[in-house]
Amino acid sequence: MKTSPVITASDLSIGYRTGRRTSIVHHNLSFRLYPGELTCLLGANGAGKSTLLRTLSASQPALGGELLLENRPLVAYSEKERSRHIGMVLTDKTMAGGLKVEELVALGRQPHTGFFGRLHAKDHALIAEALEAVGITHKAKSYTAELSDGERQKAMIAKALVQQCPVILLDEPTAFLDVVSRTEVFGLLHRLAVEQNKAILLSTHNIEQALVLADKLWLLSAENGLQCGVTEDLILHRRMDTLFNRSGICFDYAHGVYYPIVNGEQKIVVESEDETLLHWTINALNRRHYQCLSVSEENASLPRLQAITPNQLVLTNENGTQTFDSFNALLTQLKTS
């Protein structure tokens, strides 16, 4: 089945217009946002992620190009219509601590309720359903102020769900969350995208989680504009290095993490049969500014470290062979030598 995109942009220019001055942050952006997928927008601070999200939510106008929401220009939507198509989750500070969680979620029904915002049975059912979907039904009667940061973010996601929008935009939804909540929120969003066929776009600095759960990645950088694609396609085409155009940082394609580049004056050959042990051995040596190489004939003259077990590290150099029983002992020796 071929799905059509919910949001389509071609040659979009985004930026700010203050008075007569126009400052364009990006131009020639073209992308499509599909339903049923979790899309993660990655980029350095100041790359324009928030500007892009604000443009997509019509908080600020596009400065050029075409932006379509369900095949109709976004600007042609009234505020009310827009609020039924795009739900947002932000990191803004709210004053909603004095509302019960269910009241907070009920605010998401505002685009659908009448002048006085009276809730009907159908609205209550939707609210209960949304609380269930994000897993905070047991907190429905609690004050929003009593929620943990993770639960609060889930409540805001539930608010976006009851808005019944095909698109949900989230601006750094995991910014203040610990690892557990972060993983939960990502997992939740991925599940909602699939189960409720929503187009979910979120900006994040949480690259590890994004790489695991994002169906699509949007990489935004000043130099390369916006690069879109399925996560693995982008990774295996070595696009991750283009995200941060700064010397000193490099993407480890094997492990999916960024790490600082080692300017090793000293070289060392490292070998181990255990993948995990090898990884952490290199990690330790890199921190000591050693450039690690794998075993080959031309490296024969270099010092050599064999990691057999974490308690048996064999270092061979011009002084002979030494065995260390921990990384502590090894690193202490390397420091003094």
Binding site: K93, G97, Q110, P111, G117
Partner: protein
Amino acid sequence: MKCRIFWYIVSLLCVLFAANLFWGSVRIPFRSVLSILLGEEEKATWTYIVLQTRLPQAITALFAGASLAVAGLMLQTVFANPLAGPSILGIDSGASLGVALVMLLFGGSVGRITAGLSVSGYMAVITGAFIGATLILGLIIFFSTLVRSNVMLLIIGIMMGYITSSAISLLNFFATAEGVFSYVMWGMGDFSGVSVAQLPFFCGLLLAGLLLALLLIKPLNALLLGERYAENLGVNVKRIRILLLLSTGLLTAVATAFCGPIAFIGLAVPHVARLLLGSSNHNLLLPLTLLCGAMTALLCNLISVLPGTAGVIPLNAITPVLGAPVIIYVIVNQRKIQYFH
């Protein structure tokens, strides 16, 4: 449980309203007041006191208290700041400046002094108060787009208050002794300024402002999430801000023009209502704030006649004594109070 609070407040309100009729500077026997209210023949002076003084004064207190409290609540929500209020943000000093301009420069005055005055006289005072209040409110809203920090905004409000008071001092300096006297009397605050003839006009304007506030309950709830969320919920934030400005401006200006700048009701009563209700949901909070404001004003009016024939305590000597402890309590306990987070 929530309904029960409303019943308590409404009954308390009725009791206080009645107390305001039965109790005053002049001692009138209970039975006599009752028979006057039932339209029976009594001593002419007593009849006059009850029907021409106590009744309009109680109605004035009811409406002025409700209006100031509701204005305070709306300001707290729209500025996302629980310490906002008509007096803190300098809005009632704006109204005072308007009143001072009219009173001291054009010799118009309000209250008992205006009883004989033409409609255009007190209209001028109200218009002055309204222009002053909305001007300051507009300036505050303008600054709120420049200054994101709420504390900074409050300080700007206080600064505006200083500027208007220095303008008022200057006006006082050049005004006549009578003008200054009537302005100082007005500044002490008192609910006796509205005559029976002015009452429908006074109540009509405040009713309009309160009605507008009731119509804004839905967007006020959305604004609890902040402007960007409200926008995403389909609220036209700019238009709502203007309507809120109109409503708070009208409520503060009319109440201030007739009763003087009454401090603390607008600031403290919304907190009392929130604490009683245990919710920030305006669906119930706004009506409860309205009732609590009316109740507080009636209570203050009752206290002001305590000295009996010796005279009347100015309202602005009473409201801070009741209001300031509430605010201190709220600030000290803000970690425990949900609506701060």
